[in-house]
Every structure is written in structure tokens, then in C-alpha cells.
Symmetry: C2
Subunit: 161 residues, 2 copies
């Protein structure tokens, strides 16, 4: 074990994701877009958000490539790009967590397939099937910087104690 | 179709979840705790966050039942509760999205099972197997309020157009 290990700031895709959609309103806007909301006035009514905040968040999501702005200048519509649609599993996973741990199991909204059958709770799956949260581990990937490698090695050593 | 439909603010488990872990730092703290970080100084170094902000966020996560504070008053440690561990699929889903759409496929951190085999990309699964984002629908659940029902009915009608 090294005498001193720097815990360097992780170079992290979660941090990258949160820099794009990591505030309250942005992820709720993505949720509304997944549900089918298209117009400024509909986002405004659904979210109960001030026009100037909504306007700024929509512009940021367009700049981030999560939404496309279409239609006329006066009555624009917004829809998810492929990048935006790819957030659906994360949005559903966080919503399901809220269903259990915040809404006390009484889900306001149920996510289903096109035939109306509820989707399964989102879970982690490995080669051998479902994984409990305590059964996952973390390793440096192809984008890992030296600080990330040192940090993960330190944590792995601790978890093996 | 009604002459006028109010788009009421959704009573929403996602909003509930975001009220607990919906700021940048809180979800990164949860990620660090999942990775094995326990001490204040380690969170501070890993995240590069000011002490006062970290202190406030840790206290909020403890109050929300996501973390437990243990150990001595002078050198406390923090670990995830069951409620906190249950955030793992959502954290991994958002991280994987960042791996693809922010880190350009070069993941800094790879999530694996205990044998080091990478977990599958988190996806939505229905009775018939994997679902694409465009193949999910939304229905009122047991906790739906009237405004939620009206909103979902309006969006469902639009998606069927």
C-alpha cells in the first residue's frame, strides 16, 4: 500500500451527464418530452416553472443536443434527439426509485410497453443475471486518467478489507 | 376531446426523487459512497468541493435517509442506507449515458460484477424483453391525482395521432 494516495477528482461520465442534465428542471423537461410534451406553453403548465427559467433550460438542452427545436419562430416545438431519448432508462430508474422511496409505493405514473404491461423495475444485469447493488465493482475504463486509477485502486482495496 | 384540458403539474416520483438527490453534488456524493468513499476528507478530495457545501449536502442526504452518519463526532464516516444503495441502477444508467454521449464511448470507469465482468447497459425490459425508448407508454398509477390523469390522457391521445 502506498504511503500516501491522492484522491484525485474522478474524470467521470456521471459528472459529464450531470453537467448537461443535472439540474432539477432539465431532467423534468426531458421527462415531459418523453411523455409527449412539445410546446413551450405545455412545459410551462406541466412544470409550473417561470418562463425565463424554462426558456434558458430549453435553450441549454437544445445546445447540448438533447432536444431539437422545430416549427415556426413564434410557435416552436421541441422533441428529443436520439441522445435525449437515450436518457429514458435513467429517467425511469430514478422515477421508480422515487415511486418506492418517496411516493411510498403508490406510483403516480406507471411505465408500460405499448400493450399497457408495466415494465420491470430497472436493475443491473451481469453475465450471470441480476446484480444487487452490493455486488457491483468498479474498474478503470479506456478513458481513465491516472488519478481515477489510483482512486479506484484505493477503494477496491478498502472494499476487500 | 374536451374543449380545454388543463396541463396540471404532475404529481411525480421523479420530482420527489430530484428533491432529495437532484443537485449535482448529491448524486456525485452517492456515486462516491457506492464506490466506497466513507470519510469527509475523502469526499472533499474526490469531488473538489468546498467544505461548507459538502457539509450541507452530507447533512441533507443523512436527513433524507440516503446516508447514515457513524463513528466519532470528530471523524465521522458515512455509508449508504438501503434507500441509498437502491439508487445504484439510476446512478449507473446516468453514468452509462455519459459514457456514450459525453465521454465519446471512452468510459473512465467500468461497472462490473464481482468477477470483473462488465454489467450490461441498463435498459428497459417488459414482459416481451427489451424495450426501445420509443416503445414505452405512461399510464396513471395508484398514486395519480386527477391532474395527472388528465395530462397523461392528453399526451396519450397525441402520441396516437
Amino acid at each position: 500500500m502506498p504511503a500516501k494516495t491522492d484522491l484525485s477528482r474522478l474524470n467521470c461520465s456521471l459528472a459529464g451527464a450531470l453537467s448537461l442534465v443535472g439540474d432539477w428542471w432539465s431532467l423534468l423537461i426531458v421527462r415531459d418530452a418523453v411523455l409527449g410534451v412539445r410546446r413551450f406553453s405545455e412545459f410551462e403548465q406541466s412544470l409550473g416553472v417561470a418562463k425565463n427559467i424554462l426558456s434558458a433550460r430549453l435553450a441549454r438542452l437544445v445546445a447540448a443536443g438533447v432536444l431539437i427545436r422545430e416549427g415556426s419562430e413564434r410557435r416552436p416545438t421541441y422533441r428529443l434527439t436520439e441522445k435525449g431519448r437515450a436518457l429514458t432508462p435513467a429517467v425511469v430508474a430514478l422515477t421508480q426509485w422515487g415511486d418506492v422511496w418517496v411516493s411510498g409505493g403508490r406510483a403516480p405514473v406507471v411505465v408500460t410497453d405499448v400493450a399497457g404491461r408495466p415494465v420491470n423495475p430497472v436493475r443491473l444485469e451481469g453475465a450471470q443475471g441480476a446484480l444487487r447493488p452490493e455486488d457491483v465493482r468498479f474498474h478503470p475504463g479506456p478513458g481513465a486518467e491516472p488519478g481515477t486509477r489510483a482512486f479506484l485502486a484505493l477503494m477496491a482495496a478498502r472494499n476487500d478489507e
